[in-house]
């Protein structure tokens, strides 16, 4: 078996989930110019919703994934309504929503601890974790589901952003909210929609990561949230293609650092790489001039 291609597949699987998380950050950053610190919390709740739909309601993994995404979208709506919109109305500094979303994230984590307890749970082994031999590499059923779902979600998102009316409105709002409003776009509605969409993607990523690592716990959102943030910055703030590419780079870097002898330094290698990339391209991998880190 070829170690390199095997690790590449593992890295792509992990990276695809990172990419889906980071896309959620970058979409919200695009329209609101804020970092949504509650994204990790929604990611965690999404994982639990998916888990409960499988274990309690006896659903298959795909219906459960859709259920988690709907749950995520509802959470996103509530987040926008209670933690973001009131602050936007008062035109406060950009730090205020950062703090309010951190509050939401702590709230979600505490509720999860209270309701589901601190113990780690895992998906029942309905999906085959047995490895299928593809010649150059082996891939498990879980990996196929995880990678496949992430890729399908990203393709659908790209189509929506580029081909539909609402997608163009999201892009216009993202580039310049005032101009978008002056072209007749209901920017308030677009913001709500974008936060819901981002949260649905976050919840989906929660299910995918929960499946791959087989470990769902209330604190899973925090660590993953930081990785998503790192990818957001590496890919360029507000840049969807950048988030996709950045997610894959981080995933592959992590897996390779484990495979080639530095498992203790897994996160250090990955984040070291990000620091290196930012030295070379401070504006992020794909960022174009214009929309920088500041509004």
């Amino acid at each position: 078996m070829n170690v390199f291609s095997q690790q590449l597949i593992n890295g792509l699987t992990l990276g695809s989930a990172y990419a889906v998380i980071a896309i959620g950050y970058t979409l919200v950053f695009g329209v609101l110019n804020i970092v949504n610190m509650a994204h990790g919390g929604i990611f965690m709740v999404g994982a639990y919703i998916g888990l409960l739909l499988v274990t309690e309601a006896g659903m298959g993994i795909f219906p459960a994934l859709i259920g988690a995404m709907i749950g995520g979208a509802v959470l996103g709506y509530l987040l926008e309504l209670f933690a973001l919109r009131p602050l936007r109305r008062r035109k406060v500094t950009h730090l205020a929503p950062l703090i309010s979303t951190i509050g939401v994230s702590i709230f979600l984590e505490s509720v999860a601890l209270l309701v589901w307890g601190p113990q780690t749970r895992s998906f029942p082994s309905t999906i085959s974790s047995e490895l299928m031999d593809m010649g150059a590499f082996k891939i498990s059923g879980i990996q196929i589901v995880s990678l496949g779902t992430a890729v399908v979600l990203m393709v659908l998102l790209a189509l929506m952003l580029n081909k539909t009316k609402i997608g163009k409105a999201v892009r216009a709002t993202s580039e310049n909210i005032e101009t978008a409003g002056l072209l007749g776009i209901n920017t308030g509605l677009i913001i709500t929609f974008t936060v819901m969409l981002a949260s649905a993607l976050g919840a989906a990523a929660g299910v995918l990561i929960g499946l791959s690592f087989n470990a769902i716990e209330p604190t899973m959102g925090t660590a993953m949230g930081f990785k998503g943030l790192a990818v957001l910055i590496m890919g360029g703030l507000g840049n969807v293609e950048g988030a996709m590419a950045g997610g894959f780079i981080l995933g592959i870097a992590e897996v390779f650092s484990v495979a080639y002898g530095a498992s203790t330094y897994r996160d250090a290698v990955a984040f070291g790489l990000i620091i290196l990339i930012l030295f070379l391209r401070p504006e992020g991998l794909f960022s174009k001039a214009g929309k920088g880190g500041r509004p």
Partner: protein
């Protein structure tokens, strides 16, 4: 009366940016707003499109007050605009700009847009077809697939106007459309603006420093200085108004 401003006042904190602005625009007018830099001309556009709330006074569109309406509702109602500094989207093609401008005229809601219904596909296809027609009219169809920011300056200005037209407005507000254009480009612009009025029946209000363009195109205009109206009337009358000459050239005996 298509558009009427009644005693509009705008204060930013303690500073009065506009005081007691009143004028009326009839359907079919090409109406000019001129005045020195910083006089408050763009602020008038921002009042009309609801970017800033008016401090006092009223803005009537087709006899109904549009004060307090949200910007997108006003655009939806039939007022479109362009910007003094070109505001195109860096990551969109020329065609996509027109489609975004057309956004408010499309009926498909959120759900239809997401579910990709048949009626939505049909509407999208019609929008694309119409966008190409509009681009042909302004002479940009050959660059429909280019990124808008790759276009030369004069064409970017044209694209902004076409994007405003895509919203099917009753009025277009043009903020310094000839800024940075050379003489031949300005001449073409004059024809374009006339055509928009004559062939599309769209009323035009324009802010401009190019006096040749203003005097050739506008049938009526107002002069604003330090947030106040100095004069109103036909171009010839305004040109000979002593207060206007003073504002532009200074007093004769000084």
């Amino acid at each position: 009366m298509l558009l009427e401003l009644k005693n509009v006042v705008k204060k930013f904190g303690g500073i009065t940016a506009l005081s007691d602005i009143s004028f009326q625009v009839e359907k079919g007018d090409i109406f000019g707003i001129i005045g020195p830099n910083g006089a408050g001309k763009t602020t008038i556009f921002n009042m009309i499109t609801g970017v800033y709330p008016v401090t006092s006074g009223d803005v009537l569109f087709n006899g109904q007050s549009i004060c307090g309406k949200k910007t997108f509702e006003i655009i939806d109602g039939g007022i479109a605009r362009t910007f003094q500094n070109i505001r195109l989207f860096a990551n969109m093609t020329v065609l996509e700009h027109i489609l975004v401008g057309h956004h408010c005229r499309m009926k498909t809601g959120l759900l239809g847009s997401l579910l990709h219904t048949a009626s939505m596909k049909k509407e999208e296809a019609e929008a694309v077809e119409e966008a190409h027609k509009l681009l042909q009219y302004v002479g940009l169809d050959d660059v429909a697939d280019h990124l808008a920011t790759e276009l030369p300056y004069g064409k970017q200005r044209k694209l902004e106007i076409a994007r405003a037209m895509a919203a099917h407005p009753q009025i277009i507000l043009l903020d310094e459309p000839a800024a940075g254009m050379n003489d031949s480009e300005t001449a073409a612009l004059i024809d374009l603006i006339r055509g928009i009025r004559d062939q599309f029946g769209i009323t035009i209000i324009l802010i401009e420093h190019d006096m040749n363009l203003v005097m050739t195109l506008c049938n009526r205009l107002i002069v604003v200085n330090f947030g106040r109206m100095l004069a109103e009337g036909a171009p010839a009358d305004v040109q000979n108004n002593p207060a206007v000459i003073e504002a532009y050239l200074g007093k004769e005996d000084e």
